[in-house]
Symmetry: none
Subunit: 139 residues, 2 copies
DNA sequence: CTAGTTGCAAAGAGTTTGCATGGCG
DNA sequence: CGCCATGCAAACTCTTTGCAACTAG
């Protein structure tokens, strides 16, 4: 089973994402950053830890349009109550918006009752254009 | 320079996307569909034509989170807004469920009106557990 | 001790590219 | 005819996997 042990490699991958602040990193970015810090972790392990962090909901994964590799970004837990926290990712400016909204809980309920599908909010990312970018772009 | 000649291969790739209606296709889907129609175009050419169509703006390209391959979808210029087709991805069995549901359109509207966020349905994937897997796993 | 983890290298999947040939305009 | 497009296969990039050795709890 995954996510049982707390290894040094795990800590390093995690702290790498923490150091990145609100920004996202690719797996390659993480490897590069780690190498620069003197620690060299195998690529496979970086991927495995990232997967694990995503599964735990500590990190979200997404692939920006046009990019070939996946991006990983730390979820800010302060602005994110466990239960119904969704993430909105602006395709324009890249902002990651944390959203806690009853309406979405309703939708969640509907998908479960009406479609038998149990949504996993922590792992779901809604793509679109945020308010700021819509105003700027006059859309 | 690109997009000068109107070849048979170009027509076939295009008509394949037209035939798909509002739905998106991967490059592999296109190849498969063409092969089924008797015409076999090289993978490279399918990619090149898709690139060309994207460059021309006739087609959009995006990669749904969790998927490894890019999706291509015809831009319907008449019905300017994209079809409200969402995708549900089962984390258990990997099934990708296409969903067209009014409730979600409501949610979309709410996100726009209440939060200023214009969701991009084609790009968004909701993660969770599907009905079958929930029943099997007694979750 | 025992089961989860790691590193390595090799395998995979998807996509791109080099080059000679073919075909649109 | 001049170029652009095609096909093929090899190259490439990103990610996953098999397996033996290692290690946290």
């Amino acid at each position: 089973m995954r996510g049982k042990y707390n290894t040094e490699q795990r800590e390093e991958v995690l702290s790498c994402l923490v150091a990145a602040g609100g920004k996202h990193l690719t797996a390659a970015d993480v490897c590069r950053a780690l190498k620069q810090d003197g620690s060299s972790i195998s690529t496979a392990t970086v991927y495995r830890q990232l997967d694990r962090l995503v599964a735990e909901g500590a990190v979200i994964r997404f692939t920006p349009e046009g990019e070939r590799s996946a991006c990983f970004q730390l979820v800010d837990r302060e602005h994110c109550h466990r239960e119904h926290c969704y993430h909105l990712k602006c395709e324009e400016c890249g902002a990651l918006i944390h959203l806690n909204c009853n309406e979405l809980s309703e939708t969640e309920k509907h998908l479960l009752d009406g479609h038998g599908f149990a949504v996993d909010p922590g792992r779901t990312v809604l793509y679109g254009i945020c308010r700021d970018c819509r105003q700027k772009g006059a859309r």
